[in-house]
Point group: C2
Chain length 268, copies 2
């Protein structure tokens, strides 16, 4: 472990865990993850999962965590999809929303009372990972934005991990629309933006300064933590290699090779 | 007419005409275009059409021009699609090419002896306007590029004009792929790149300095002319308004409200 903050891990009131590559792989738990989460909870720390995942509902994610033996339930999960739905419903409860994204994203938006539409007029266009992408669907999204709809990206991840390897992430849809409308999204909800982490701190009732984000990405997790004002612990179980780490200027506050190492540093 | 170059139109040996918005609209000829092309030819000037169009073959474009009464045939048309096929066939005659684009693009590549493949391995990925876009198709293109294929954009037009209004152009596909692979195309063939104009000058046997590009776009035609070293005449029959023109620093060498005005300036 490298520790640059000089602060003991046990000083944090809340632990926010990234999901893919940190707690789970497409085929099961990251080794050491179930025990680490159990240890953090055993110390009385508040815990939440903060994930950019835009393909699955919280219920599906909770079921996957349970199958993997990670002791976290639906109420402890905050996804970029949920945060997107809350953001829009908070701004305009009856908004017409045109979705270029997954069934899970559509379901979550509908559950928040938003009206899903297939073409303009719409007040919001939401872009995520869309296995059913088509030219007409993207063309309708472009038309809606050019007619005044807000352009919301669930996240801008380039890839998502799957059981058969990595596949294009929400960046595919965001990049397509952005190139044609000629401007980036008005809001990016997921990491590296800070919104997801700030919402998790609000729900848990802790100040960001008392929270630690544990994640595997220097491109997504690190800047999100910095922008939200939480500390950041990098685990090398996912997308970041030791060589990647050696190349960055902005060092994580903590670096662990695995969550087992994090657990050991908690003294449990 | 505004003339900044101080050079008479009749001094040019070759006239290169943009197509959409300059010679034709989706439903027929731009008023004055048939007469202007006939006048230029009558003066013994060399003529070519240089178009970013990536949906139609040269044969289809020539048929559309004939129906509109514009006296130009297939051999006088150079499209970004043709230039793309020549570029790749010139570099690697038996290349495997993965196309995210139209049937017209696929046909032209095949006519140049290239092998069309549906997934990696491929030496080239070519991006154009694709009405049959899908997530798996884009994912295979991303995978091919990340495995070493060259990334070629037929053009990066944001929109294409159609009879029912403008629709997203090749930028939709290029932007989607670019956002995921993390780099822009290795080559953009169409305007604003100069390749299409240089190829036209080569085919016509004239120096770029002796050629005049006539087009309707400050975003596409003007920079292509500058990069190729031809003069540029803007016509206000297409995408550019007088207000757009007033806002630019780099002035076209000539400005005509219509091709009728250009014809009159030729003295015919």
């Amino acid at each position: 472990m490298t520790e640059s903050g000089g602060r003991r891990l046990t000083d944090f009131a809340a632990f926010l865990f990234d999901l893919d590559g940190t707690l789970t792989y497409p085929d099961g738990a990251v080794p050491g993850a179930p025990e680490a989460v159990r240890a953090v909870k055993g110390l009385g720390k508040k815990v939440a999962v903060v994930t950019n995942n835009s393909r699955l509902s919280r219920r599906q994610l909770a079921a996957a965590l349970r199958r993997s033996g990670v002791p976290l339930d639906e109420g402890e999960i905050l996804t970029a999809v949920t945060a997107t739905a809350r953001l829009i419903a908070g701004q305009r409860p009856d908004a017409r929303v045109l979705v270029v994204g997954s069934a899970g994203l559509r379901a979550e938006l509908a559950e928040h009372g938003l009206r899903l539409v297939e073409g303009p007029p719409a007040e919001y266009v939401v872009a995520g990972v869309d296995p059913d992408l088509s030219y007409p669907k993207l063309a309708r999204a472009v038309e809606a934005i050019l007619s005044g709809a807000a352009f919301i990206a669930v996240n801008v991840d380039r890839f998502v991990p799957t059981e058969t390897g990595r596949m294009p992430g929400a960046a595919l849809v965001v990049g397509a629309i952005q190139a044609v409308v000629g401007r980036p999204p008005d809001v990016v909800v997921g990491k590296p933006a800070p919104g997801l982490l700030l919402e998790a701190c609000r729900v848990l009732g802790v100040r960001p300064a008392d929270a630690l984000l544990v994640g595997d990405s220097l491109a997504s997790d690190l800047p999100a933590a910095r922008a939200a004002g939480t500390a950041f612990a990098l685990v090398l179980s996912g997308v970041t290699s030791g060589a990647d780490l050696a190349a960055v200027q902005d060092r994580p506050d903590y670096v662990f090779s695995t969550l087992t190492e994090l657990r050991e540093c908690l003294g449990v």
